[in-house]
Symmetry: C2
Amino acid sequence: MELIRAAERQTLTMAELREGARNNQAVTLRGMVHAVRDMGGVTFLTLRTRAGVVQCVWETEEDGITGECALEVSGILRLEGRAPGGFELAVDRAAVLSRPAAPLPVPLSKGRRHLNLDTELGLRPVVLRAPEEQAVFRLQAGIARAFREYLQDRGFTEIHTPKIVHAGAEGGSNIFRLDYFGRKAFLAQSPQFYKQTMVGAFERVFEVAPVFRAEKHATPRHLNEYTSMDFEMGFIDSFYDVMEMEAGFLRAMTELLGGEYAGELELLGAELPPVEEIPAVRFDEAKRLAAEKYGYRIRDPYDLEPEEEQAIGRYAKEEWGADFVFVTHYPSKKRPFYAMDDPADPRYTLSFDLLFRGMEVTTGGQRVHDYAAQVEKMEKRGMHPEEFTHYLMIFKHGMPPHGGLGIGLERLTMKLCGLDNVRRACLFPRDLTRLEP
Amino acid sequence: MELIRAAERQTLTMAELREGARNNQAVTLRGMVHAVRDMGGVTFLTLRTRAGVVQCVWETEEDGITGECALEVSGILRLEGRAPGGFELAVDRAAVLSRPAAPLPVPLSKGRRHLNLDTELGLRPVVLRAPEEQAVFRLQAGIARAFREYLQDRGFTEIHTPKIVHAGAEGGSNIFRLDYFGRKAFLAQSPQFYKQTMVGAFERVFEVAPVFRAEKHATPRHLNEYTSMDFEMGFIDSFYDVMEMEAGFLRAMTELLGGEYAGELELLGAELPPVEEIPAVRFDEAKRLAAEKYGYRIRDPYDLEPEEEQAIGRYAKEEWGADFVFVTHYPSKKRPFYAMDDPADPRYTLSFDLLFRGMEVTTGGQRVHDYAAQVEKMEKRGMHPEEFTHYLMIFKHGMPPHGGLGIGLERLTMKLCGLDNVRRACLFPRDLTRLEP
C-alpha cells in the first residue's frame, strides 16, 4: 500500500514569465516542438506549452529533433524582446519524450495552410494544434466559464438533465430518433421542460450541455449538435428580467475575456463588443426600420430570415453603435407552446431573440406558469396534454412566474472571433454529411 | 428602442441573514409556500426561497394562502433562535403571485413520504422541491464546480466534444444506435478519443458532459445516461500524476463543500471523507487482502465484482481509516485497447480505479501514445486500425505521454450523501424501464 497526495507542482503562466518572474533562473519546460530552424550552428526552436509558445535557443545542431516531438528542455530563462512572448530559454539540456511516426500533413501556420473548410475539418485532430485554432477554443472555454461564474454568484444552481427523452420540447420533425431498449426515444432538442421543472425546486438554474437538432440545413450557421448555455429563473416581473440577466452575463464575459484572455483576442484580431447598454426593439418595429433604411420589401411579417437578421444587425451598428440587439415580442405563431402571450396583444409573445453582429445567438422569454392557461394553449394548438403529464405536473402543483433563455455557445464564439462559419467554432462539428472526426 | 442594462439587485444569502445583516430592517422576500399553520389567529408560514427556508409570521388569519402558492412577502426581519434558520420575517404585506391548481400528490417532508423508489421517481418533478432532495443536487453542483475550478487553476482547458459519434470508444455492445440522416451513428460512451486528441492541442483538458451506456443492468449502481467528469493531461511521468491530480481535486471538493455547502451536508447528515492521503494498492494485492481478511475465495482473478469492491472498501476503512482507495494495475484483458500495459509485466496495465466507500467512482490511467505501439495493440485484439483513422492521426503525428480519468458524478454524489441507489443522485434517471420524467 502506498499513499497518494495532491500534487502541487509550481507552474508559472506566460504572463508571469513575461514579467520576469524567473528571469535568469534555471527552469524546465515541456511541450511539443512547433518549429525548428538551424541558423548556422545555432538552433532556434519554438515549443508549444500549455501556457503558450516559447522560443528556445541553443548553440549546437540538434539533428534528432523534428516538429511534433514531445520535448523536455532545461536551461536559463531570459527576457528577450525579439522572442515571441518577450522571453526565451537558453537550452542546456533537451530530452525527446516521444516522436511522431510521420510529419504533419499540413503546416500549422495559418497563413500557409490554404485548405478548404471540408479538408480542414477532416484534419481537425492535428490542425487544432495551431495557436490560432487553440485561441478560438480557449475563448470558448472562457465564455462558458463566465456564464457559470456570473450565474453562480447570483444564486443559480447548476443542473444536469437527460438528453435521451420521450418527447421533444420544441416539437416538429427536427428531432433525432433512437431505439431505447425496444422503445422509441429521442435526443433532447433543448432542456426546456427540465429547466422549468427545476425552477420549481431551485428557483434559478443553469445548464451547459449538448442539444441535438435534426435540421436538414447545410448553412454556415447550423450545427446538428451544439452546446447550449441555458438558464431559467423564477419570480420574474417580466421578461425584461431575463434580458437584464443576459446583459449582465455579457458584461462579465467581456471583462473576463478582456483580462485573462487578452492574448487570444489579440492573436485572432477579435474585438470585444460594447455591452454596457444593449438596445431592445420590437420585432415588427425592427423589421420596419431595417426595411425602410435599406430599401427592401418585408416578405413575411411573422418571421425573421437570416438576411433580415443581418439587416437589423447592420441597422443597430450604424444607428446605435451596437453589436448586440434584442428583438422582442416575436409573433405567437412562431414561438413554442410554452411561450407566454402578451396580454396587451396575444398575437405577440413576451419573448426575445438576441442578435450579435447580425446573427441570432439567443432565444428567450417569459413562460406560461398557470396550469389552466398552459393546458388551454396546448389544446388550441392541437397538442395532447395527456402526453405531457410529467411536464404539466409542475404547473398543476404551483409554479412561480418565470422565464429563461438558451445561448448557442458556438454561434457566440463564431461572432466574437469573426469567423465565417459556425463549424470553425466547434471542435468536431456534426452536420448533414459530417459524423467524424 | 429601449436600452437594457445588467440588473444588479441586492440579494442576501441565508448566512448573511442569519448573521443579522438585515436585523430589524424591512425586507421583501419571494418564494414558494412550503407549509402554513394557523395557530389561533397567528399564521406561521415557511417559505422556500432560493437561499433556503424562511419562517414568516403574521397576526391575522390568511385564508387564501395554501402550500405551493408563489408568494411575495414584505415585513421586518428579526433574529429568532426558535426559527429554522435562526431568523424570521414579521409580515406586513403578502401578495400571491400564482396559485396551484391542485395540492401536492405527496407531502414534501421526507419523514412522511413513505414512497417506494419507483413511485417517487415518477413524482420527481414535484418531489425535488423537498429541501432534502434539493440538498443532494446542490451538493452535486458543488462537486462539479470544485472539479472545474481546481482544474482551471492548474492550466486545464474546458472542451465540448460530440455525443453523436461514428464509433464507440469503449467497444462492446453497450452502445446506443441512432439513425443519422440515413447513416448509422452511435451515442458516445465516453469522450475518450476526443479528450486524448485535445491533449495534442491544449495539453490539459477537461469536460463535464453526459455519456450513454446501453447496459442491460438493473442494479442500484447503474444508469444508462450519466454525467462524466473527465480530464486528460499530457507530459505525465506516470499514471501516479493522474491519481495525484484526482487527490487534489477531492481535497478541493471537500474544502468547498465543507465551507459553502455545510448546510446541505448537515441537512443530509452526510460526512465528508478524509482526503489528505488516499491509499493505493495493486489490483491483485487488494483482492488477496480482502479475501484473506473476510474469508472468501477469489472467483475471477481478472475482474472485480461489486461485492469484492465492497470488501476492499471495507478493508480500506478498517485497516487504513480510508473512505477512498485507489486500486491500481488492472489486468490488460479487462482494460480497453488505449490503456498502456505495464512494461514490467504486460499482463497488467498502468491504470487504476478509485473506490469510494466500496464502489468504483473513477476509472483512469496512462494511455498508449506511440503510433506503432497503438496500431500493434489494436491488431492483437482483432480490431481494424483503418476504422480509426482520425483517432490514430494524433499518434501518427506525435503525442506526448499522457493519461487521464473519468469520474461518475452521480456515483460520487450518491456515496457522499449516503444514498442507497444511484437514481437518487440523478435528477431524472434513465434506466432499463425509465424514459420519463
